[in-house]
C-alpha cells in the first residue's frame, strides 16, 4: 500500500471513546446570538461544537476551514445571518457564493459530503441552532473521525 493509500480513508471510529471535534465559525450578529439563545433557553444539544466567533460569515476564509482540518477538526460549520439580514448588508451574499463553490471543491477531491457544512441561523432561531448542532454532530458521528489533512497523523516513511 502506498503512503497515500494508507491515509486516504478515514477509518470509522475505532473505539467508542472518540468524541467528535467540530469547529463552528459563527457570525457575531446572528448565529452566535442564536447559539446564545439556544443556551439561555436550555435547549439540549450535544457538546461537540466549538464555536469561534467571527464578525461576519463573510470573514471566513476557506483556508480557515482547511486549517481546522489540519489541526484535527472532524467537521467544520460556517454559520451566519440569513441572506438579506447581514449586519454589513451584503457580506453573506459573498459567503454564499464562496462556500457553494468551496463545498463542491472539497467533495470533488474526496472529502466526504457533510464534513463541511454551512447554515443560515438568525439571532432569534435558538431552536434552529440547537437542531442544527444535533444534525451536524449526527452527520459527523456517522462519518467517524477525520484523518484527512491532519498534521498529527501524516504517514511517515523513513527514507
Amino acid at each position: 500500500m502506498s503512503v497515500s493509500e494508507k491515509s486516504v480513508l478515514n477509518q470509522k471510529a475505532e473505539s467508542s471513546a472518540w468524541k467528535p471535534k467540530i469547529i463552528g465559525f459563527c457570525c457575531n450578529w446572528c448565529s452566535y446570538a442564536g447559539a446564545d439563545l439556544a443556551g439561555i433557553s436550555r435547549f439540549k444539544q450535544p457538546p461537540y461544537l466549538r464555536i469561534i466567533r467571527v464578525p461576519c460569515s463573510g470573514r471566513v476564509n476557506p483556508v480557515y476551514v482547511l486549517r481546522a482540518f489540519q489541526k484535527g477538526a472532524d467537521g467544520v460549520l460556517v454559520a451566519g445571518c440569513h441572506p438579506g439580514d447581514c449586519h454589513y448588508a451584503t457580506g453573506n451574499y459573498f459567503t454564499r457564493r464562496r462556500f457553494l463553490i468551496f463545498k463542491r471543491l472539497l467533495e470533488y477531491v474526496g472529502f466526504e459530503p457533510g464534513r463541511f457544512q454551512a447554515r443560515w441561523i438568525s439571532g432569534a432561531e435558538g431552536q434552529k441552532f440547537a437542531d442544527n448542532t444535533k444534525k451536524v454532530v449526527d452527520d459527523i458521528k456517522t462519518l467517524g473521525p477525520n484523518k484527512r489533512m491532519r498534521l498529527d497523523s501524516i504517514p511517515q516513511i523513513k527514507y
Binding site: 457564493r97 463553490i101 477531491v109 459530503p113
Partner: protein, 320 residues
C-alpha cells in the same frame, strides 16, 4: 506562417520605431527544435528574433506584471487563450489597459513538447515548419519529421473557445473560422462520478508528489498578489514542509484563489514538472461557476471581474 511572421516583425518594428512601445514580448527560437522561448525585444534591429510557429506554447501575459513599472508602453504577443489573461490583469488593476499594446495572433492550436518528444528527435535546431493540413512537416538540423497534428496537439486546444484573441490592438494573421469548441466538461463529469474513496485516492496521490516549486503559480496571469499566501512567513498560513497535508492545503487554496478568475489558459498544467493535472481542479471550478452563477469564461470581456467578488440576490440557496 511566413506571412504571419513577416507581419509580426513589421508590426513590432513599427511600434518600437514610433515609440508606441518600449519593449515587445514575444516568442523566439528555443534551444531545441520544437521549443520556443520568451524574448524581450527593445530595438527595431532585433525584431528578427520574433517567431510564430506551432510551438509558441508559453503564455506571455504574466510578464506584464513583472514589467509594469518600466517607463513607456509594453507590447505583448498573445494567442486566443492568452488574450484572456490581458483582461484578467486589467480587471485586477495590475496594469492599466493603455499601458499595454496587444498584438494578437489567431491560433489554430499549439503542439505539446512532451508529445512531440516521444515521436521525433527534437534536439536539433528548427529550420522551418510546414502546415500540411492534417500533418506538420518539421524541418530541423537533425532531419525532417512529419507528425500528425491530432497526435501532438495540446489537450487544451481541443476545447478552445477563442482561437481569435478576445482583445488585440493589432492583429497579425488571418482570422480563424473553425467553430469554437467549448468544453462540455465530459472529463470533469467523469471525475465527479467517482466514489468518494476513489476521488480521495486519486487526488491525494497527485498532491503527494507536488514539490512546491510554484511554477504553476508563477506562470499564472491570475496570481499577481503582492505577497502570496504561500510566501507569507508571518503568519505562516501554509507550512513549508513538503507533506501530503500541506501540499493539499496548497493545492486547494491555489485552485480556490483562482475560482471564477482562472482564464483557463492551461499554463499551470503545462509547466508542472511533476505532471500533476492541475487543470482538472481549475476546470471543476469553471464548471461550477458556470452552472451556479452563469459565468462567462473569465477574461473574455473587458468588463467583469471575479465571480466570487460579486453576487446576485437570486443565487442558488443550499444553506437554509
Amino acid at each position: 506562417m511566413k506571412k504571419v511572421i513577416e507581419n509580426l516583425r513589421e508590426t513590432a518594428a513599427r511600434l518600437l520605431q514610433n515609440k508606441e512601445a518600449e519593449v515587445v514580448i514575444g516568442w523566439g527560437l528555443g534551444s531545441e527544435a520544437v521549443r520556443t522561448q520568451p524574448v524581450f525585444i527593445t530595438s527595431p534591429d532585433n525584431v528578427d528574433k520574433l517567431v510564430w510557429n506551432p510551438f509558441c506554447v508559453n503564455g506571455l501575459t504574466k510578464y506584464l506584471s513583472d514589467l509594469k513599472t518600466r517607463p513607456g508602453k509594453i507590447a505583448v504577443v498573445v494567442k486566443g487563450c492568452d488574450s484572456r489573461g490581458i483582461y484578467r490583469l486589467t480587471q485586477d488593476n495590475i496594469i492599466p489597459r493603455d499601458k499595454v499594446v496587444v498584438i494578437g495572433i489567431p491560433c489554430a492550436g499549439q503542439m505539446s513538447y512532451t508529445k512531440l518528444a516521444s515521436k521525433m528527435d527534437v534536439s536539433g535546431q528548427l529550420n522551418d515548419v510546414e502546415d500540411k493540413g492534417e500533418d506538420l512537416l518539421i524541418k530541423t538540423s537533425k532531419g525532417d519529421f512529419t507528425v500528425k497534428k491530432s497526435e501532438v496537439l495540446l489537450d487544451k486546444c481541443l476545447t478552445c473557445e477563442h482561437h481569435n484573441p478576445v482583445v488585440a490592438d493589432h492583429v497579425v494573421g488571418d482570422t480563424i473560422n473553425t467553430c469554437p469548441t467549448p468544453d462540455n466538461y465530459e472529463e470533469i463529469k467523469k471525475f465527479e462520478a467517482m466514489s468518494t474513496e476513489e476521488k480521495a485516492r486519486f487526488w491525494l496521490s497527485q498532491f503527494e508528489r507536488c514539490i512546491r516549486c510554484y511554477a504553476c503559480r508563477n506562470i499564472c496571469p491570475g496570481c499577481t498578489c503582492r505577497e502570496c499566501i504561500f510566501d507569507a512567513i508571518k503568519p505562516d498560513w501554509v507550512g513549508k514542509e513538503i507533506n501530503v497535508s500541506e501540499n493539499e492545503l496548497f493545492h486547494l487554496t491555489r485552485a480556490f484563489h483562482l475560482a471564477g478568475r482562472c482564464v483557463d489558459c492551461g499554463e499551470c498544467d503545462r509547466v508542472c514538472p511533476m505532471d500533476i493535472p492541475i487543470r482538472l481542479l481549475n476546470k471543476k471550478l469553471l464548471k461550477d461557476c458556470k452552472e451556479l452563477f452563469n459565468m462567462e469564461p473569465p477574461g473574455s470581456t473587458e468588463e467583469g471581474g471575479s465571480v466570487l467578488g460579486q453576487y446576485r440576490l437570486e443565487d442558488p440557496e443550499e444553506f437554509m
